[in-house]
Structure formats: structure tokens, C-alpha cells
Subunit: 327 residues, 2 copies
DNA sequence: CTGAAAGCGCTAACAC
DNA sequence: GTGTTAGCGCTTTCAG
């Protein structure tokens, strides 16, 4: 930076200002500084800057899984929006463990990030305290409940479960069930299951049939769980799956057994993954705005970075029923 | 850190040493330091450390896409291995653009990362020069060719394409074709396609039929591309898809048209994604070690971090044919 | 609008 | 094995 200052014939403070808040430097000097930067190929040292300013252009993001294409799409959209503005993403993978999340938050904080983004609203108590004390924007995404830590960008999974049940009911199905996986680990899946059960109770006056395998959701567990459901309730005529991967597995299981979809069994998934529109029959599903969540988080953050007065918000990004041939 | 030093009755250098290279401090002092750290809830400031040491426990990783579950699985495995050792991952998404990659490398470098991991071996010339000049380990992953920048962890996509062709030939198919997408963008897919074409030329003495849509690979493009192939070559009896998502779309297209798989048409994919084993019929595919790549990259890096004498290597992680019912 | 000067919190020679 | 000391490369008051 000293070299740049020398070449531009200014002080290092002016270089710093020209690079950081361009409007606080006269146009002439600003141009000279940028010329010198280009000529020298100068790249500022982020750590020196971060140390001096006590904050960096870094945002820590914690997701419970990358293999899950929900969060991958969100992350993808987030990087797309944040990178052009010079913000780096520090990636953390909590593997659905609050303890791992706590450790990640701690190490993120040692980088004076501009913000931290978490998935969901369930965190260790210590995590929340640390986060609150950091004095930076915190965003919880992919969930929408009470008592937000700070900002919230998501939708109600309970409402998704309710919609799935109502959709099957609308299609004239009465012997309906919910098929999920790892419900103790994946709070949001559990909320969808609970919403489904609510509607069954309200409309049919009986407890809902819920089959959940301990393993993670996948095509494999989808097929297996459906098999288990059919063993226990051979007369089932409608199934809501915790996500599209499981629904795909369920669909294949039906094909294997010669069960007509939707003639014998109506299927509805969650996610609207790429293949859902192209399967035979095409899969009815509920679409969460996977990318939009990432964009909304990024835009909100950028706004708060630019305007220190901007406070936290709660954004309900909603979701959408996509009825197709499977139901 | 001064507080910790005071509480432990030592100097800050001792605290630093105890935290960094435990063996260089007597056990007694080390214990006292850790006690003080715990009592005070001290978290070192990574930027101050990084600035002073001119390197950080950060590794920059650039992938061309997160939505693609290949790289997501690799990243997942990488975080799993690196996080417990205190390394943070800075995530970059190049979106298959060398220019974006160059920009990401630049901003990563401003953080004095411990290493940089890139996907593939095709980079802008300037990117390579900068990387080489950084004096840190560079790993290129998911490809295996000549002229590695530094370390290389991957496998030959050409060999994958050759294997796919040979497999269809082994199954007695002769009118075989390759179905891909975005081949100009995705070098590795293009290499698979080229390998496939080589074998067709060698064994059948004719140029290979290759259908490639301009859009990205997905179930949608898989179905569409297969439809196009069938329009042009109705007598085709074996198809290798650029990846499993496309193969799934192709399988659904066959179901829609009443084409028997494998009776009329043999299908082979690439990736061995979760659903491949569970589709009806189960999908033959070639499995790249998605997670193993991430683990190998992380282990290699950790080794080089620990031992400054350790040099670059090339690791061929291989791949595996998984023959199933679709071929 | 610009420059001087004082650190930000830590690491790494270098002595002891 | 441990302490002293001099920065690492920037940002940010504070003057002017």
C-alpha cells in the first residue's frame, strides 16, 4: 500500500479511503490511486485490514449438510450475490449437530465476520449468547418460527405438512400417511410431519400414520419406508414424503410392485428437485424457493452492511404446491 | 491474550506457543495456560495471528457448481476432515467460468490461505502464475492429466468414457451413443465423451454418435437429449449418459415411450448417485469416489501442513463400474 | 479533502 | 523452556 501511495503521490490513508469509501476522496486523487493500484497489481491484505478495522468482508454460513441439494442451491445463490460485492463465504458443515455448530460459530467469530448465517432456529444456548454478543447481523434461514435470534428468512414447514395432507384429501384420498426419515435429527422434517398429522386429526379425526426410518432421507430410505408402510397398512391410498428424493424411491418401489400411481396410491413430495417434473408419472410436490432463500439472505445482509441503521427482519419466502400426475 | 498470560503467570509468547505448538512448552505451563484460556473463554483473534504469521488456517476451495452433487459430496468430506484440525474453508463458486475463478483466487490470496483447492486443470494463465507464486500447496481435483500445477487428486474421465463404451459393447450392443450436455463448458464431461468416441472408433471403426444439449446436465436434459437421439437414430440399442441425473431422465423417457430397458435399450450412467441403485430397473453406472476425493485432498493437505518437506503428489483415486439391471 | 500517527492482537526471532 | 521485542499491513481518529 505504501508503494501505491508513493506512485500516486498521496499518503496511505488516502489510498485506504479511495479503495474503501470512494466518495470521501476527490475524483482526481481517486483516479490516480486506482491507476497506481492497477499498475502495481496491488491486492490489499485482508487480514491487516480486518485487524485494523475489527471486521472483515466475510460471512460465515453453517448448513447441516451439503449433499442435501436444498442447502446447496441456497449456498449457490448466496455466493452468486455476495462474491461480486467482495464478500467471502466461510463454509461450515454442522452435520445436524448443535455441538459442531457451536464450535463452528466460535471459530467463525475469531475472524470478525460481517455476518453469520445459520440454518434453522435450533441452537445450543451458548451459541445464541455468543452470536448475540457479536453485534453483527445473524440470519437464521430455512425455518420460520417465534423468537428469532435476529433476522429470519424462511417458511413454515408445519404449513408445508398441512398443505401436503390437504392436497391428498382434496384428491379424495382418506387412508393417507406421512413417510419421513431421521425425524429426530431434522427438525424441519419433523415440523412437516407434525403439520401433516394436524390436518389428519382435524379432518379425519384420527391420529396420522407416520413411518420414519432412522437413516437420512434418500431414494433408498424412501423405498424402504414405503415398503414398511405397505406392510403395516396395505390399504393406504395416499402418501406424503418428507422430500422428493424419498418420493422418488417410493415411486420406484411402486413400479417394482406394480402399484399404480396415482390410481392405487397418490404420491406427493417436497422440494421440486429437477427430476420431479420428468419422472413417470411426474411427481406432485411442494416447492420451497431454494435459491430465493439464498438471494434474500444475501440481499438483506448487503442492505444491512450498507446501512448501519437497517435492523433485522423476518422474511417469509413461502412455498408452492406443484400438482402433477402422481396425485 | 495478555489476560490469559497474566492469569497463567506467563508471557504472551508462552501462551501463543502453548496454543500453537504444544510440545514446545513444558507440560506444567501448558496446563496452566489451557486452564486460563478456559476460565476466560479466550478465543484467539485469527486475523492478528494471520497477520503476524503471514499465513492462516484457511483453505480456499473453488468448485464450478454446488448444485452438482459431485462437488457437494467432495466438499462435505473435506470440511469433515479439515474442521476438526481448525482449518476454515473459504468457498468459491466459479460457475464454470475461468474469469470468475481468477477473481476468486485473487481474493482468496488476500487471506494468506494455507492452501488453495481448484476443480479441474483448466485455468486462466494469470491464475496459474499467481497460484504458483503464492508458495502454498495447490491442489487440482476431479481431473487427472499432464502438467499439474502442484498436487493432483482425481481420475481420468477419458478412461471413464472408454469404460462406458466397452461395457455397452460387452453387453452385445453395437448401435451405441453418448448423451451429454454443456460439453463446451464442462471439460470433464467432454473428456468422457471423447473416451467413449475413441472406443467406438477402435472397435466399430466408425465415428461415435454423440448428442449434447447446450443446457446443463439434469434429468430434464437427459430426457430431451435421449428424445433427440431416438429421432435421429431410432435403432440405437445402448446409451452412455454423461451423468446419472441425465440417465434418470433418459430412463423416464423410455418408460414414457414404452421402450424396454435393457431389452430394447441399455442405459449406463456416471456418478452412482443415491437413486441409481433404487430405480426400476436399477441403473448401471460408473462410480467416481466423490467423498474419497475430498478426504484425499484434506489428508494430503494436512500432511503438507504438518511436514514442510512434504512435496506435491498426484493421486489417482480411480473409479468403478457398477453394473446393474439397466444394461 | 488529505496526512500523521497510533495502534489492531498476535507471532517469531532473538536473548536469556 | 521462557520472556523481550519488534513488527505484520492496514484503518482510523485527529489535525490541518
Amino acid at each position: 500500500m505504501a508503494d501505491v501511495a508513493r506512485l500516486a503521490g498521496v499518503s496511505t490513508s488516502t489510498v485506504s479511503r479511495a479503495l474503501r469509501r470512494a466518495e470521501s476522496v476527490s475524483p482526481a486523487l481517486r483516479a490516480r490511486v486506482h491507476e497506481a493500484v492497477a499498475a502495481l497489481g496491488y491486492v490489499p491484505n485482508s487480514m491487516a485490514g480486518g485487524l485494523a478495522a475489527a471486521r472483515t468482508r466475510t460471512v460465515g454460513v453453517i448448513v447441516p449438510s451439503l449433499v442435501n441439494s436444498f442447502f446447496a442451491a441456497t449456498l449457490d445463490a448466496m455466493t452468486e450475490r455476495l462474491a461480486p460485492r467482495g464478500y467471502q463465504i466461510m463454509l461450515g458443515n454442522s452435520a445436524y449437530s448443535p455441538e459442531t455448530e457451536a464450535a463452528l460459530v466460535n471459530s467463525f467469530l475469531s475472524w470478525s465476520p460481517a455476518a453469520i448465517v445459520l440454518t434453522g432456529q435450533a441452537h445450543a444456548r451458548a451459541t445464541m449468547q455468543r452470536l448475540l454478543g457479536a453485534g453483527i447481523p445473524i440470519v437464521e434461514m430455512w425455518e420460520l418460527g417465534e423468537n428469532a435470534l435476529d433476522s429470519l428468512v424462511g417458511f413454515s414447514h408445519r404449513a408445508v405438512g398441512r398443505l401436503a395432507a390437504r392436497h391428498l384429501l382434496d384428491r379424495g384420498r382418506r387412508r393417507i400417511a406421512f413417510v419421513g426419515a431421521a425425524l429426530d435429527e431434522d427438525r424441519r422434517a419433523a415440523q412437516r410431519s407434525a403439520g401433516f398429522a394436524e390436518v389428519v386429526r382435524e379432518q379425519l379425526g384420527r391420529p396420522a400414520v407416520v413411518v420414519a426410518l432412522p437413516q437420512r432421507a434418500s431414494a433408498a430410505t424412501g423405498g424402504l419406508a414405503l415398503a414398511e408402510l405397505l406392510a403395516r397398512h396395505p390399504d393406504v391410498d395416499g402418501v406424503a414424503f418428507s422430500n422428493d428424493a424419498m418420493a422418488l424411491g417410493g415411486l420406484f418401489e411402486c413400479q417394482r410392485r406394480g402399484i399404480g400411481v396415482p390410481a392405487d396410491l397418490a404420491l406427493v413430495g417436497f422440494g421440486d428437485l429437477d427430476f420431479a417434473a420428468w419422472s413417470t408419472p411426474a411427481l406432485s410436490t411442494i416447492r420451497p424457493p431454494r435459491r430465493e432463500i439464498g438471494l434474500a439472505v444475501a440481499d438483506h445482509l448487503l442492505q444491512r452492511f450498507d446501512d448501519p441503521h437497517a435492523g433485522p427482519t423476518t422474511i417469509d419466502v413461502g412455498f408452492e404446491l406443484v400438482p402433477r400426475a402422481s396425485s
